[in-house]
């Protein structure tokens, strides 16, 4: 048996979802015997059958990726509960296994997948999706690049209708629930962990802590950004959000300002607000030097 055949057979077996008792299945979904696969490629020893030896890797695979996904999305876990989260995570990771050398990207397709599998979210779909969007934005904001900040000189030399480039770590979210406070309260209960060893001894057990109250529907506009190497959530006015989104999408200053709805404000009021926002955003370093 050549190397490619062995690796494909073992990898397919290792990725098979575990049984309810966290053991390796006897058969794959399409009816193939995993005992036969194990017997064909793996030697037994005086203590373990081929199946049991392969099962060690099958368990480690799932324990590691389920633990990593759970650490990345504690808010979603808190909303739907550990049991439902476990089922969701197994289904998601079966459909969307890791295509990255780092576990950091494990949840990159979760929002998209959930939109096509709303059955896992039942009566909390919008809240759960908002939470997933925020938690993924937090992961991205944590270690995305920070380019050199735009200086006052840069701003003044940008011409009559300059463009402003947002820092790569700034994420803008239009949310139907105020999940920012909720995620913060959930995150405070989580510990920082980095997984680097060759083995996961057992599936991470989640202690039963009281879940924070779920947020009620409330549309909010949020910037997720990094400052001094910490990630922050900043609520924005609807109009400020519209301006920032337009700038992010490459619009000029005048186009971005026009993108917002200024009804009910005088030109002077709108102008003062825009100036105050830009002063704040510049102070936070949200704009970077353009190429």
């Amino acid at each position: 048996m050549d190397l490619d055949t062995i690796q494909r057979a073992m990898f397919d077996a290792v990725r098979q979802p575990l049984t309810a008792s966290e053991g390796m299945r006897q058969r794959t979904k399409d009816g193939r015997s995993l005992r036969k696969v194990a017997d064909e490629i793996i030697k037994p020893n005086d203590r373990l059958s081929s199946f049991e030896r392969l099962e060690i890797y099958n368990r480690q695979y799932w324990f590691r990726i389920l633990s990593a996904l759970g650490e990345d999305f504690p808010g979603l876990r808190a909303i739907i509960g550990n049991r439902r989260f476990g089922k969701l995570a197994i289904a998601y990771l079966s459909d969307c296994p890791s295509h990255s050398f780092t576990l950091r990207n494990l949840g990159s397709r979760l929002e998209q997948w959930l939109r096509a599998h709303s059955e896992y979210l039942a009566d909390v779909e919008e809240l759960a999706l908002d939470t997933v969007r925020l938690e993924w934005a937090e992961i991205e904001a944590f270690d995305e690049a920070a380019k050199p900040r735009m200086t006052a000189d840069d701003m003044s030399s940008g011409g009559d209708d300059p463009k402003f480039e947002l820092q790569p770590h700034v994420r803008l979210l239009d949310l139907r629930y105020a999940v920012d406070d909720f995620v913060i309260s959930v995150r405070r209960r989580e510990e920082e962990v980095d997984i680097v060893s060759n083995a996961v001894m057992e599936r991470a057990t989640r202690s039963r802590v009281r879940r924070p109250a779920l947020p009620k529907p409330e549309r909010i506009f949020l910037a997720v950004h990094r400052s001094d190497n910490s990630v922050y959530f900043k609520r924005l006015d609807r109009e400020a959000f519209a301006v920032l989104c337009a700038l992010r999408d490459g619009k000029s200053l005048s186009e971005a300002v026009d993108a917002a709805d200024w009804s009910g404000r005088s030109i002077e009021q709108a102008s003062a607000e825009v100036q105050a926002w830009f002063a704040y955003w510049a102070a936070q370093g949200w704009f970077c030097k353009t190429a």
């Binding site: 793996i42 295509h99 690049a145 060893s197 060759n198």
Partner: protein
Amino acid sequence: MPANRFNGFTEYGVGIGLRIPHYNHILEKKPVVDWFEIISENFMVDGGRPLHVLDQILEQYRVVQHGVSMYFGSVEPLNREHLRRLKALVRRTNTPWLSDHLCWGSVDGTYSHDLLPMPYTFEAAAKTAQKICEARDFLEVPVVVENVSSYAEFHASEMTEWEFLNEVVERADCGILLDVNNIYVSSRNHSFDPLQYVNSVPHERIAQIHIAGHSKFQKYILDTHDHPVIDPVWKLYERAIERIGPTATLLEWDDHIPSFDEVHGEALKANRYVREKVMA
């Protein structure tokens, strides 16, 4: 043979893995540590706290990179994006050598995030060695490979694990990161003599040694890096040092991580074997 071409002709002493729970202690107390080993993948990012902390560490300490997902043994080609990011990190850390595991872990671009064992065949040795050479040529730094703990053996194997290791490193002309805990774990899981393993590896190629703890189960041992080093592993370390001479040594402790002082103290126990060797 402490300094050789596989570890950049360095003479590093006893180091420990750089881990998040110890960041504040290290940055505030600035303890004396010979060197730190970092998990490369944890720092192959574009910005933020990981790189900020790393840069502070680099101002004070020597750092060596250790990877967990190059998968030299996977049939598929090396991941170019991985290599590009790794090279950027190599330039940042100025690591004198870079290690990853003699294992596989991906198929068709899907990652297991585990260190899966190799079938010990000549075909596997040839393909693995070729990828090690490709990585070394791209990264422009000595690449060394670490023996992994394993829980399964393949019918297809044509040689012992240490013969396979020797075959790969000779073909690739690369160094070895000898993990004596992994040798012990695999020896118990596969019923071989760990001393024979230590005695059989080409000592002139050993760039670094790993020591660690593990967890015992009823029918097998798991490499968990969450306990102190046990005496039989120290015995293997002692034998390795007898053969090689004082060599850069690193204690891995990755789960249930105790205080910095406890981890560092456990690592420094290695010095007693090094001293005995020097005195002898």
